[in-house]
């Protein structure tokens, strides 16, 4: 099943997406602020089309989708693909509602998601791609420990001009160096296996 389960951050929670989220996804995909910053996941469409897309995602064993809440409010979603060998993950979309930008939700949810990748799934590395002028996302990636491994030139087109794309990776070693105190669970008690 490729719908993600609960991952708790401090101010945000990644959780199982539901059909009721789709109308909000559609509104985000139609928001030019978001489209300028990110690649769209899907173009805006009728509710029935979104339901079909949702069914397709649920069937795909390697693509995983989470909705992101801040308190009771849906504020974003994350979607990516687990590698065939199941030792890496490509984050394709990490979207925060433009009305909720600059509140720290992106940083909080991103840290929680990467804790899940490295501390829970024990992945070797995670990759993502960001537009070269998306300073907020690049700042989050830099703080997490991502490094650039490639730069595609004139990749994305909007506002009448192309913008470059940065390809970034974060290895388990970076997680361990920077975030070893972040754990999903506390250490097992000394007598836990007696």
């Amino acid at each position: 099943v490729a719908l993600g389960g609960t991952i708790r951050g401090k101010t945000t929670t990644l959780r199982l997406p539901v059909e009721g989220d789709l109308e909000t996804y559609n509104a985000w995909m139609a928001d030019m602020r978001l489209r300028r910053a990110h690649r769209v996941w899907h173009e805006p469409a009728m509710p029935a089309t979104w339901k079909e897309r949702f069914k397709e995602i649920a069937k795909d064993k390697q693509t995983v989708l989470w909705s992101i809440d801040a308190g009771p409010k849906l504020v974003g979603f994350a979607l990516g693909r687990l590698w065939t060998m199941r030792n890496g993950f490509d984050v394709h979309h990490f979207v925060i509602d433009p009305e909720e930008w600059r509140k720290g939700y992106g940083s909080d949810a991103a840290l929680a998601l990467h804790r899940y990748f490295f501390d829970y799934l024990d992945l070797r590395l995670v990759t993502t791609e960001l537009r070269a002028d998306n300073a907020a996302a690049l700042g989050i990636a830099d703080r997490l420990g991502y490094i650039e491994f490639a730069r595609g030139h004139e990749v994305h087109y909007r506002d009448g001009a192309y913008v470059d794309e940065l390809k970034l990776r974060m290895d388990k070693e970076s997680w361990q160096e920077r975030w070893s105190a972040e754990r999903e669970y506390p250490p097992l008690a000394a007598d836990a296996t007696r």
Partner: protein, 180 residues
């Protein structure tokens, strides 16, 4: 979609794929001789699944795929995948399944035909790809038609006790060599 027939030099052509061509992918992809730079050599490799893949590829308007023909025999496949028709960008790939024919320049000619088609017929803005850094033949075949390095993905996968890196390339119409 399947691409149209493109006749090249030295017996190499790109031709629209058939279901029989797709069935050849199974033995090709599972052979250790091609597995050094290709993986993982397992998967849903049944005839039924290949028929599904064939139908899906034919219907998919975000990709163009060809069978590579050498002296009128299918020897591999190539294509441009995940095409974004707004950005006019796509990811290219190639697979020579007949390992007994490695080193004959088949991939070079196929890549030349494919890239020429991307610029002259599809009016793409950019194509990009990933190639095993140690696969010098494939990398050079791409460089000959204008691909330039845009990055290096270190320690991409592990084979026989060694890490393999991947070379990331990109090409544009203006980097394609003048062939007149």
């Amino acid at each position: 979609m399947f691409g149209p027939r493109l006749d090249g030099r030295d017996g190499v052509s790109l031709v629209p794929s058939t279901l029989d061509d797709f069935k050849l992918h199974v033995p090709w992809m599972l052979a250790p001789e091609v597995g050094r730079f290709w993986g993982p050599r397992f998967g849903e490799m049944t005839e039924e699944r290949q028929e599904e893949r064939f139908n899906k590829t034919g219907e998919d308007e975000s990709q163009i795929q060809w069978t590579i023909s050498y002296n009128d025999e299918p020897v591999g496949f190539t294509g441009i995948f995940d095409i974004d028709w707004i950005r006019r960008d796509g990811e290219s790939g190639i697979f020579i399944g007949r390992h007994d024919l490695f080193g004959r320049g088949i991939a070079s000619e196929a890549i030349r035909l494919r890239t020429d088609f991307a610029w002259r017929e599809l009016r793409l803005h950019r194509v990009h790809n990933w190639v095993a850094h140690a696969n010098r033949g494939s990398r050079r075949a791409n460089e000959k038609v204008g691909y330039k390095q845009m990055g290096l993905f270190r320690h991409s996968y592990f084979r026989s006790g060694e890490w393999y890196d991947e070379w990331l390339g990109e090409a544009y119409p203006h980097t394609f060599p003048d062939q007149r």
